[in-house]
Amino acid sequence: MSAPLDEPTDERLVQVALAGDDEAFAALVRRHKSRVFGIAARFARSDHELDDVCQEIFIKAYRNLGKFRGDAPFEHWLSRIAARACYDLLRKSRRDRANVSLDSLNVTLTGIAADEFVGASEVRELLEFALGQLPAKDRLVITLLELEEKSVREVAGLTGWSEANVKVRAHRARARLKQVLEANPSP
């Protein structure tokens, strides 16, 4: 996120925060919280979990602020922390997700495929269920590539995987997701 001319840059705020001014870090949080919440909301199951994971992300950023070298934008550095925190969250919560029943969802794949009017929240519910059946890495790559519309290169940068690994994992994840969605009974 680029700051207006009269506002200090992210790099400047980082320097001031490192000098001990917490208000500078609060300004960084205000500037970037929407993006972090946007990513984390794709993975969190409740508002409480969302708040927790976002706090973890910014606390990690605060503690590791000295490691920010400034060779990439602060936003990218923060997004990498967010992606790792979300991956950790997925690994922890995957067992619980598997307990959700498809029967409780009132939207079907055929309805979406036939361009019927389907509420956004219902599609999200279906996707949430289907993605919940995938391994954490598959879910992460699908969410970043397909829902957050990141490029393969960006996903590689966020996750620390090679671009080839991202492509292979995305291909497998799509295949697994199709299998899950195909198991969705027609109305």
Partner: protein, 98 residues
């Protein structure tokens, strides 16, 4: 299921961008409060003992004053007061053969 159908699902999922505005409200205040709380050094439990020193000093002082103003109970008097009943009962037991 073909790729087009899957892309439709993704497209629908993208449009269902979660609204996080209510969760973002006051977030930096909560976060900075947590950071400040975690940054404060942990105080050892015995650090509070020093705060009790004036209380104990006052008690000792009060006992000293009370002791002086009441003529001061000697150690022997105190022992007699405490053990008087026991001695009487043992003497009575000895004389009566109980």
């Amino acid at each position: 299921m073909n790729d087009d159908q899957l892309d439709k699902v993704f497209k629908a999922g993208r449009s269902a961008k979660p609204d996080t505005s209510h969760a973002e409200f006051g977030f930096e205040t909560r976060l900075m409060a947590r950071i400040r709380a975690e940054a404060q050094p942990q105080v050892p439990w015995f650090a509070f003992a020093w705060k009790l020193v004036p209380v104990f000093a006052a008690i000792v002082l009060a006992l000293g004053v009370w002791n002086l103003t009441n003529g001061g109970l000697g150690a022997a008097d105190f022992h007699a007061a405490v053990t008087g009943d026991a001695e009487e009962s043992s003497v009575a037991g000895y004389l009566t053969g109980d």
